[in-house]
Symmetry: C2
Subunit: 382 residues, 2 copies
């Protein structure tokens, strides 16, 4: 069991599934693999096209210099790669040379590559060792931590998947320099989400440092990623299979998934949809705390600072032309619902979240109206 | 945690993954599901064509009478159904109506259906509750116990898969009445294997009762299945992920897989190939215990009774025309090898097995010659 350091977070799962998140440069991968006890020379490295252009050569060169034998496979960027067709090509590639149970899989990329290569690792020979090197902000603070892997089906996103914890995560914050602004903003939505559900101190810090966050000041970004990843790691360690506290990570997601579905996947980024969804969820939190539906232009004072910070995350898409009815209908296809009931995560206060099962229809409609009245496409502002 | 009874074996895995093997009629499934705490009315039942003809209606009628809502899907019988194509159709079927994480999967069938429907359950929504109702002897004593699920790839069998333990196994030995003789014989090979690696008393019992075993005397078959399943359950409980003792279950398999591969899958049943493979492994055990290669027509006296019992399992296929070189080459594609090394399970005595990594080439050739000299196609004899 690795010991935590200032450059490391430990995801404290039961023996055999616990692991470290190392904060280091990606060219340090060879030494970290050796320290992790990886013995086979054979490594399967999966990256997407965009990430490969910037970082794949640096990684494979450092591996080869240190005596490893990486084989690489590059997939097209974007959600469409989380398909049975791309997965089938990955199986063919992985199995075209002999592999054994000590062959390791390295996922170099954002959430799509992490989910896809993670699922490859979960299902080849009933589970190969997996290593994440997340290159997007959302992957560094969220999707690389906690073992969710999977692909999409025409009936919905992530319907086919497995829990498969990595052996370690190697997070190199310097790679965020090449991340497109819209993807960075999308990741900020998850960062703010982590603060809102679990850490009021981190929320205050984000409010204060927002200008440096937006300008990608390297030491501020490093601290932000470390703190946000720590929150995710702590929640996952408490509830590996999402039967309890891990559900809080879905704050904004019941609304957000509906936005993605109703507008067509890819119109909003996932983070944008969640950012708007969290504003709806703050309104719903206001109504539930008041005990009556709050006016569609109002919020309880307890949630206005949270809403103001979320309003600073730019949204490059619009909800124009959609009706409340369409959005409410879209919520009912979220795979996380139990039977006919929708579940919502709401806040009691900044840093304190809970799950509610029953929500009055009027409060839901007002929450949607509040969010729709506040979606203003715009660029990143400090 | 269920308590063991005379009608029940407990697979003693860590909390959350332990489960019971119930020995009962399949129409008792509704009560057992209720006792297991299954709440959703929605059940996905997968069966193969042959099994469906005999038993699917009885199962679904009992479920419906008791207020459950099973949806059923029938796949073609045989190993070819463990494919990405059939799996894709199962995903489409399962997702054509809303499901949630409490939707359960029931695998009604032999090893193929268990592996396929088990993998469906392992990967839908990152894991649905799974219930096995094994209908073949090999499924009842071996494949339904221990959580191995998966499908095949053109590069080899079971290369894509997951560990996913069932919530319970419901074993109805009366269904073996309709099992074809060749499949029953194939299951007997795994029964004898369990005795040889772990339970000399059970081996003695099998020797004594063999005539009743072959004639499918119901009480003898019930005791045989119970004892063989107990051995498998005990080994799995000690070593869920096959990093230690569970490897002993591969006795005869390094040779057996080579037979299946070299003769073309389906020529030998898996059990037939393993039966022949165990005879080769007994010869190898003789050579290793002697410290020198034993003559290709001889065995150490310690293993002659084991070999005699194996010789009573009929083999409906032949190794004619194959060379030792082809068979040795085929062994090297077993996915369980580590790097270039082949692993073999050998016996120290009946009931005591161990894994060896390094085997002299001469001993290997003699073992193959011994087995090849003894494969005589024949029917079941008492």
């Amino acid at each position: 069991m690795p010991k935590p350091t200032s450059q490391q977070i430990v995801v404290d799962l039961p023996p055999g599934r616990n692991y470290a998140i190392h904060f280091d440069r990606l060219v340090e991968a060879p030494g970290l693999l050796a320290s992790a006890g990886v013995q086979s020379g054979q490594l399967l490295v999966v990256a997407d096209d965009n990430v490969a252009r910037h970082y794949l050569h640096a990684l494979t060169a450092s591996l080869e210099t240190n005596g490893w034998a990486p084989r690489t496979h590059v997939v097209p960027p974007g959600e469409a790669s989380k398909s049975t067709a791309v997965l089938g090509r990955l199986y063919d590639w992985a199995l075209q040379a002999p592999i054994d149970r000590s062959t390791s899989v390295i996922a170099l990329g954002g959430g799509v590559v992490g989910d896809l290569a993670g699922y490859l690792a979960a299902t080849l020979l009933r589970g190969l060792p997996l290593f994440h090197i997340p290159t997007s902000l959302v992957a560094q603070v969220d999707s690389s931590i906690g073992g969710k892997t999977g692909i999409n089906h025409s009936a919905g996103k992530n319907l086919i998947g497995a829990f498969h914890q990595p052996r370690f995560v190697l997070t190199d914050v310097s790679v965020l320099a090449t991340l497109p602004d819209r993807e960075y903003a999308s990741g900020l939505a998850e960062v703010v989400k982590h603060a809102l559900i679990a850490d009021a101190g981190f929320f205050n810090w984000l409010e204060t440092r927002w200008a440096d966050v937006v300008q990608k000041d390297e030491s501020v970004v490093a601290e932000m990623v470390f703190r946000a990843a720590s929150i995710k790691a702590g929640i996952v360690a408490e509830d590996e299979r999402e039967s309890g506290r891990r559900r809080l990570l879905n704050f904004g997601h019941t609304f957000g998934h509906a936005i993605e579905l109703a507008t067509g996947y890819g119109t909003f980024t996932h983070g944008e949809a969640v950012a708007v969804g969290m504003r709806a969820a703050l309104h719903l939190s206001s109504s539930l705390q008041s005990g009556k539906t709050v006016h569609e232009r109002m919020l309880l004072p307890a949630f206005t600072r949270a809403d103001a910070l979320l309003s600073r995350i730019p949204i490059s898409a619009s909800l124009d032309g959609l009706s409340i009815e369409e959005l409410i209908a879209a919520m009912a296809t979220d795979k996380k619902r139990t039977e006919a009931n929708l579940r919502f995560v709401v806040l009691n206060a900044v840093g304190k979240a809970k799950v509610v099962d029953v929500v009055p229809r009027g409060a839901l409609e007002a929450a949607w109206k509040y969010a729709m009245g506040n979606v203003q496409p715009g660029s990143m502002t400090t």
